[in-house]
């Protein structure tokens, strides 16, 4: 038996990231000042990101795929982890959870996401998902003396394990039907054996939709999101509202577009009601929230609904606009959390929307930044959020889903109420409580990057979209 070592060059980002995460874990044992660990983590992720543009290709059979699609998602994950670490540094000191494992768990979670984005095989996909999810469960409960954080971790874990069971059941049905877990082999087997009308296949697609829907927090699998987002440390809320969601979309896109390419009509019919329900629940329930983290949780659910439009179109244009949207969402959502995190100070939670009353009078700069991010989340020009939604809707219209876009626009209009309410509180009310901002240099950098990105993408939109379109080529 002769076994050759597979070509490892396409997976250099994963390998270096793993080596680096292990190093951070060990360095944490030596370094007493955890800010240094954070800086090393950021520098390391920046270094690893340089390797992203190395050789592409598949390796380990077809288990690992490095192509433009996966690279684009990895950029989102890197942006996510760097910005999340930047906003964490001061915050976790305030929360008194300043432990080094925090950063290494973030890195391990990111490795899981990278594995998911590059997965060409359902087994690898599942393992990547578990790696990402396990790290995130721990991070959600990182504030272990806070009962809400414990609740968040427990709920996230129990429901996550439940959704994993659905994923595994779906995978096992597919394996039984096709005898393989390789995505392309599944696709060719389905068309060769003409399984397109098989109900078992449909059932497995439904199970996979449940599992991925859980990860992207799409209704009706969103139940965990508000409690988890509220209870988790705010920086982790920012981290997991972008990273695992983007990773979920990455696998959703790849599995459905490649493995189930021949049954597009079936899964589109499943995803359309889910998308509508997601937008409806996200936007309507958000109206009555008074906790800003809960409100952004519902907003995050709603945004998953918009991004699903990109998958539903089932063509490269739709996928490109979805990727574009997720990148924009990473910037604007973490930006909003970077403002929220500043309101947390010793002995003051600062997560009620009433804490924002009159913020423009006491802290005008923070209010302006929040205004930009809220505008962007609503989708008001000239911010990036507008561009993201515009391209998504255009691609959906081009694919013939005009009515769906009309629905999305209506819900988008509803969303303006709760986003703009924050702005109204900030600018048209008198301050009731004296809010002291916890500012830090690193958080300032995060705010700078996100604001610049939101405005620049808003003004010069074509660059990012071209990047996404180039990435999707040859998918």
């Amino acid at each position: 038996m002769n076994f050759q070592l597979p070509d490892l060059t396409p997976m250099i980002p994963e390998l270096s990231m793993t080596a680096f995460a292990l190093m951070v874990l060990l360095l944490d044992l030596l370094i007493k000042k955890k800010e240094v660990v954070a800086l090393i983590s950021i520098a390391g992720v920046a270094l690893v990101s340089l390797t992203l543009f190395g050789p592409s290709g598949t390796t380990f059979g077809t288990m690992f795929i490095s192509d433009g699609y996966s690279t684009f998602f990895k950029i989102i994950f890197f942006v996510n982890v760097i910005l999340s670490i930047l906003i964490s540094i001061k915050y976790i000191a305030v929360e008194k959870i300043n432990y080094g494992e925090y950063y290494s768990l973030m890195l391990f979670s990111t490795i899981g996401m990278m594995i998911m984005a590059s997965a060409g095989d359902l087994i690898v996909l599942y393992l990547g998902l578990e790696l990402m999810a396990l790290s995130t469960y721990v991070l959600a409960g990182f504030n272990r003396h806070d009962i809400k954080s414990n609740e968040a971790a427990l709920k996230y874990f129990l429901l996550g394990a439940f959704s994993s069971a659905f994923l595994l059941y779906g995978i096992s049905i597919i394996y039984g039907l096709t005898g393989t877990t390789d995505l392309r082999a599944i696709a060719s087997f389905i068309s060769a054996r003409d399984l397109t009308d098989n109900f078992s296949l449909l059932l497995s697609i439904i199970f996979l939709t449940v599992a991925f829907g859980f990860k992207i927090a799409a209704a009706p699998f969103h139940m965990w999101a508000p409690d988890v987002y509220e209870g988790a440390p705010t920086s982790i809320t920012a981290f997991m509202s972008v990273g695992p969601k983007a990773a979920g979309f990455a696998v959703l896109g790849r599995v459905f577009m490649i493995a189930f390419a021949s049954v597009k009509a079936d899964w589109a019919a499943i995803l359309i009601p889910i998308a509508i329900l997601t937008m409806a629940i996200g936007n309507i329930v958000a109206l009555s929230q008074t906790n800003i983290k809960r409100m952004l949780a519902y907003s995050s659910i709603a945004h998953a609904g918009y991004a699903l439009l990109g998958i539903i179109t089932a063509n490269n244009e739709g996928l490109a606009s979805m990727m574009n949207y997720l990148m924009i969402y990473a910037f604007m959502n973490i930006g909003a959390f970077a403002v929220i995190i500043m309101l947390r100070s010793e002995g003051f939670k600062g997560d009620s929307i009433y804490d924002y009353e009159g913020l423009s009078k006491t802290h005008p700069l923070a209010a302006v930044l929040m205004l930009i991010f809220m505008f962007s989340l609503t989708g008001i020009p000239p911010t990036a959020g507008f561009i993201g939604k515009l391209y998504l809707f255009v691609s959906a219209i081009n694919a013939g889903y005009t009515w769906l876009v009309v629905v999305a626009v209506i819900f988008s209009a509803i969303s303006a109420y709760f986003y703009l309410r924050i702005i109204m509180y900030m600018y048209m009310r008198e301050p009731k409580t004296t809010v002291t901002l916890t500012t830090s240099f690193s958080n300032g950098i995060a705010l700078g990057i996100t604001t610049a990105a939101v405005l620049l993408i808003g003004i010069l939109p074509s660059y990012l979209l071209d990047l996404a379109k180039a990435a999707i080529k040859g998918f």
């Binding site: 038996m1 076994f3 597979p6 793993t18 874990l25 007493k32 955890k34 380990f60 059979g61 288990m63 690992f64 300043n98 432990y99 080094g100 494992e101 290494s104 768990l105 391990f108 490795i111 899981g112 594995i115 095989d121 087994i123 690898v124 393992l127 990547g128 578990e130 790696l131 396990l134 790290s135 469960y137 721990v138 409960g141 990182f142 272990r144 971790a153 049905i173 039984g176 039907l177 096709t178 005898g179 393989t180 087997f189 054996r193 399984l195 098989n198 109900f199 078992s200 449909l202 059932l203």
Partner: protein, 170 residues
């Protein structure tokens, strides 16, 4: 015929034991029923010609994970399950959904057609032994998933220490 009889026994026993595990009021009883459940699952693996899996099922699940369960049960020291009205009330709805899911799964799986079997026939596995076949596959073709599992195990170590260590050393 005889293997079908065995399968029917295991299928019913596993389902029944699982029900016993989740319905016992005393959590220690649940854990003990679970022990029996794990042994039944291990025997089912034997009938699937997967000896090594059966051994793992006994060593890891019955030996390791069950101890973990028992520790958690004793850690919380609950003698009787808490009955909170809020959660009990959801029973009928949950039952309806579960029953509907069961019907859907059952109906869909009627159209199930198994893929042609691969190269690993019963004779081949008998000749080479299950552990050997498994090892050959896991350390060549499935090397990448195997290495990912080490990361998952590592995260499990970190997670246990971060969440449960009384005084976390910085």
């Amino acid at each position: 015929m005889i293997q079908q009889l065995f399968f029917i026994y295991f299928a019913f026993a596993i389902t029944g034991l699982s029900l016993l595990v989740v319905t016992r009021k005393n959590p220690v009883h649940s854990v003990l029923w679970m022990l029996l459940l794990f042994f039944h699952i291990a025997s089912l693996y034997l009938f699937l010609n997967a000896e090594f899996m059966a051994a793992i099922q006994v060593i890891v699940y019955a030996g390791g994970i069950l101890v973990l369960f028992l520790f958690v049960v004793l850690l919380m020291n609950i003698r009787e399950e808490l009955r909170i009205g809020k959660y009990i009330g959801a029973g009928p709805t949950g039952f309806t959904f579960a029953a509907a899911l069961l019907v859907v799964v059952f109906m869909s799986l009627r159209s199930f057609v198994a893929a042609p079997p691969g190269i690993y026939s019963i004779d081949l596995i008998k000749k080479e032994t299950h552990t050997m076949v498994l090892g050959k596959l896991m350390y060549t073709e499935f090397l990448y998933p195997f290495e990912i599992t080490s990361l998952i195990l590592l995260v499990a170590i970190i997670g246990a220490i971060v969440l449960a260590k009384r005084r976390l050393k910085t």
